[in-house]
Amino acid sequence: MTAAHTVDVLLDDTLLTLNRAVGVLRRRNLAVERFAVRPCGPTGVSRMTFVLNTDAATADRVVQQVRKIVGVRAVEVTTVQNHTQEEHP
């Protein structure tokens, strides 16, 4: 069942890290409904936010792949049905 998954990613403010994160979406050719990147908190950190309209399993795989990219600090997912938070230790 598809749902809207809003994924917030805190990551190093470099184009390389951003490019790797976007690559996870591009590789799967997922429909991204909204996409934004903006400075966030301390210097050198950006917040990337995108909305995926997909099933929970796909959204979870995307999140797991994004969170292991070197330079990604935290990933937070919000869906219309529920709300979970994931932080790196």
Partner: protein
Amino acid sequence: MSEAQSGAHILCRTLVEAGVDVLFGYPGGAIMPFYHALPEYPGLRHILVRHEQAAAHAADGYARASGRVGVCVATSGPGATNLVTGLATASMDSSPVVAITGQVARPMIGRDAFQETDIIGITLPITKQSYLVQDAAELAGVVREALAVAQAGRPGPVLIDVPKDVQNQKASPASPPGPLSANAERGNGGGSSSIEDGVRRAAALIAAAKRPLMMVGHGVILANAYAEVRALAEKTGMPVITTLLGISAFPEGHPLHLGMPGMHGEVHVNRAIQRADLIVGIGLRFDDRVTGNLAAFAPKAQIVHIDLDRSEIGRNVPTAVGIVGDAAAVTRRLVGAIQARDCAAWRAEIEGCRRPPDASFRGGMSPEAILAAIRDATGGECTIVTDVGQHQMWVAKLFPYRRPNTHITSGGLGTMGFAVPAAMGVHLARPGEPVWAISGDGGFQMNMAEMATMVQEGLTVKLAIFNNGYLGMVRQWQQFFHGKRYSCTPIWSPDYVKLAEAYGIPGYRVQDASELADAVGRANAEPGPALVEFVIEQEANVYPMIPPGGSLSEPIEAAV
């Protein structure tokens, strides 16, 4: 502060300081300052390959055999793009490789300069991390971090792109190594409390299971978790299945060892998976060649999945218990948490499914006979590096590996042409030990120019060619699934004995089993590289076979 050095010298010096002692590479325009500095660092042995792809595979082979980072070097443009297949191979098989590429000078980047290519962009999906070095002052830190990132957590390839003017730029030698960036150690996640909870639940499942199995993969080799895995098997009596990259992680002759699962797994191994009520998977990713049709995979089993990479848990198969952590550490805890038991009835049930050996290879030149000759000549103490195709499956199923990490092959990417160059890296990681590179006639011809590298650099690699005149595995698929239309799979070979002679190495052709022991023994005893061509039956197949996308319950078996 010490005297300023060029970026090229900083690069060499940092590699030496980090303990790197061998580089596989090929010079070219944009990497020339590095090569100009290199002779001043005798601690860095450079192996001049004949194609950059071979440099990446050799670095990969070195990394897999040594447990240390393998380093390859290439120039910009075609030099860098030629590395791509090797980096993708290393990425799929979690091998720590660092690639250093020259790049056009900073002012020329983005102008489509001569031999310019966006190698970082090209390799983004197949590298763990990459660096475009913009200032020579950053180089030392970048090299140290790259080497650490390649090995940290789940290993993988890292690329450092160094513009030519940065190699020439003077900078102060680096400050002492600092701590790694906070997230370079990513992959070791899973706090101790979550591990404890997972171990407790896994132990309860093992205690309750009637038909439990262990499946172990490359992660066990990467973590040196052999003793722990063996202890877990012996304490519980659980039969052990080794995936293609897990082969040699558990002794082949051990009574609990079952064999390889999946597409070319033996019938009793796949039957065991289909009947199991519990699978304890350690350091594997349940890829499609292992599982076949996911919907029909292990329909009765709960799955305990132990892996360093959190993203692998639940990725392909649903897990009852997922434990993120080092295979050795987690398995050790699991051994401590379980009660001793045995699985005698279950093992007897599996034995009842065992089929007699495939007899389709009539005549003397069977894979069994060839591999027995290599085993006998080396006392079974060699490292075997295989290519991709039918011979790869025969070796995986038949060679009696005794020591851990003595089977090296391209698993995830399935890269033909891997064996010959990777074996050069294995030899350098294990000098003095026999290394056999086994290829088919197709894969061998992809990178056979590396014989010249072996001769020039004095690399003692034994080359075995299973010559059936076909791209055999593709032909087998054509036979089974494409109406026997052997489209573009017959493949001509040169006279390999004469070819070896042209390269100045001994070559032997074996057409009859009676000649096997002599030829293999002589090749193995040669002080340098040697080649043995085995002329085998043309249309032999690898049995059994699960059709792609098929269920493990429905193998194609050899006609009796």
